[in-house]
């Protein structure tokens, strides 16, 4: 079971068993990225081998440098699983009109062979 609640500087991360979907959404600039993402790596190492398929849905507009490093490591693990024959795919949603958020996804996609779809979504202004 993986269910991490979002904070201002960390994304929500949840695994939905019914649809074999790992979801990550929000912004990511934790105080300590490597500690923050550690449970995700633990989960991937123990659960990924047991899964037949995994969808990874990402909806992140901003990541700091150390989160980017962690994300790259996550994507590498998924890519490896895909190359070994597991049904893995990534859908990355970015805020429509936000070029930087799209570039972030594009740069990850460039180095992977896994099916990787990048899609814009319209957002309404959220006020806290």
């Amino acid at each position: 079971m993986l269910d991490i609640k979002a904070t201002k500087s960390t994304p929500r991360i949840i695994f939905i068993e019914d649809s074999d979907t790992l979801e990550m959404s929000g912004e990511s600039y934790p105080e300590n990225s490597f500690a923050f993402f550690a449970p995700v790596f633990e989960w991937l190492h123990s659960e990924l081998p047991k899964l037949k398929a995994l969808k990874f849905d990402v909806s992140i507009n901003y990541m700091n440098s150390s989160s980017t490093k962690c994300m790259l490591d996550i994507l590498d693990l998924l890519n490896e699983a895909f190359e070994q024959g597991k049904e893995v795919s990534i859908t990355w949603f970015y805020q429509a009109g936000n070029d930087r958020a799209r570039d972030l996804a594009e740069e990850f996609k460039e180095d992977l062979s896994i099916p990787f779809s990048i899609q814009p979504f319209e957002t309404e202004e959220v006020t806290e």
Binding site: S9, Y29, N64, K69, N98, A101
Partner: protein, 181 residues
Amino acid sequence: MEKLLKLKNSFTEQGILISFNGPFTHSIIEEIGNAIKRYLEAEQLTQGTVSDVFSVYIEQTQNVRNYLSKKISSLNQHNTAILVIGKTNNHYTVSSGNSILRRDVPALVKRLEEINSVEKQNLKAFYKEALRKPRDPESEGAGLGLIIMARKAVDSLDYSFCPLDEEYDFFSLNVTVTGEA
């Protein structure tokens, strides 16, 4: 003239929008970051510019915070920093300043010069290569923040050092990004 008015006029003259001087904590970084985003969004700038300024702000403040929390005791007067965001014409400059142990200066200068020597169009490849390097367990940051700033900066990374006492220098870093409306 009254002190505060003098300060206000000086800020206005220099185009200073936001300034913070004191100890950086993660929650202060979050709060100021949100204020910066709101401010720039209200200025009708593109999402791209808001992202660039925010990204440079986060990398600078987290670098400073990581350095100070690792190297300098929170009781030490050197464990504080200043952050300034200013606007001149259509450019936004994010500046940070903090104490640094003099013995740490040569390694930082080497890194800054190494990044500044990379041609703009080669920074992406340089960044990707750095991203692939195994992380240094000694360093909290991935050592990538400076490259991210260099990619977003109009010019090279502008920095200086100024001696404070026998042990410490003051390090300042200025990164300017273009504002698109």
